[in-house]
Symmetry: C2
């Protein structure tokens, strides 16, 4: 009954870990009045602005609908500015958000890193990164099995 493959064990570990660390990250970011999801999209906008909703959706792997809802929350709170530009909407950070991110980013990156720094040395982190990169890249070109 317990015919778990090594792959399925890895899968479960990854799911539980990301779930858990996501919750902890939310708690950490509470002091800046941000959620992990919001921080994620704000960072992507900062790096790639100006960009369209489609491009952004792609970067954070959510659907069109998902990004639309997220952005209207962020706009309502004044974090971002959207303007109709030809058929598409162009997204930019508001000035206040640039300032907020300058402060939050180093803290959040340090927080994320601490999950690994505390238990893995430099070399082990490099190995983990390499393995996960291969797995992730492969998953992106994976096809659903038929039937």
């Amino acid at each position: 009954m317990r015919n778990n493959t090594i792959g399925s064990l890895i899968w479960l570990r990854l799911m539980r870990f990301t779930n858990q660390s996501n919750q902890m990250s939310n708690e950490f970011l509470k002091r800046f009045d941000l959620t992990t999801a919001q921080f994620d999209v704000l960072m992507q906008i900062r790096i790639y602005q100006p960009l369209t909703q489609m491009e952004l959706a792609e970067k954070v792997t959510v659907t069109q609908g998902g990004i639309s809802r997220m952005l209207s929350r962020l706009e309502k709170e004044g974090y971002i500015v959207r303007k109709q530009d030809w058929k598409t909407k162009t997204i930019n950070l508001s000035a206040k958000t640039e300032a907020i991110l300058d402060q939050v980013m180093p803290e959040q990156l340090a927080f994320q890193s601490s999950f690994f720094d505390d238990v893995l040395n430099e070399e082990e982190q490099q190995i983990l990164y390499t393995l996960m990169t291969r797995v992730h890249k492969h998953s992106q070109k994976k096809e659903l099995p038929p039937k």
Copy 2:
């Protein structure tokens, strides 16, 4: 501006990968009329039944409120049975669900494994599992930094 640590790069990879593979898993499970989240809790119930809602919440790392909502959906669909038993509610799978899981489980485990089998050999998977186990276990006893 791109002062990404190796840890923050790993973090992002893990988030994107789990997010993506979760979506693919949802699509895969559609043929059985299940979601990934539902499959996860049904599997935990199968392994540990009978159990209480608190115990289950702990196993799948969601809150009391979250498990309550999930279970009432599952109960409405006839996948599980809850009965009041002293102060707590005891959860069991319905007979039909045991049968469904017998069929779904091997397929889903194979699907999960395929993410890793396709690109990592046995030894690499073992390494990945070991590293992630250390990272995960550590995160469970981690404290939020003060301030």
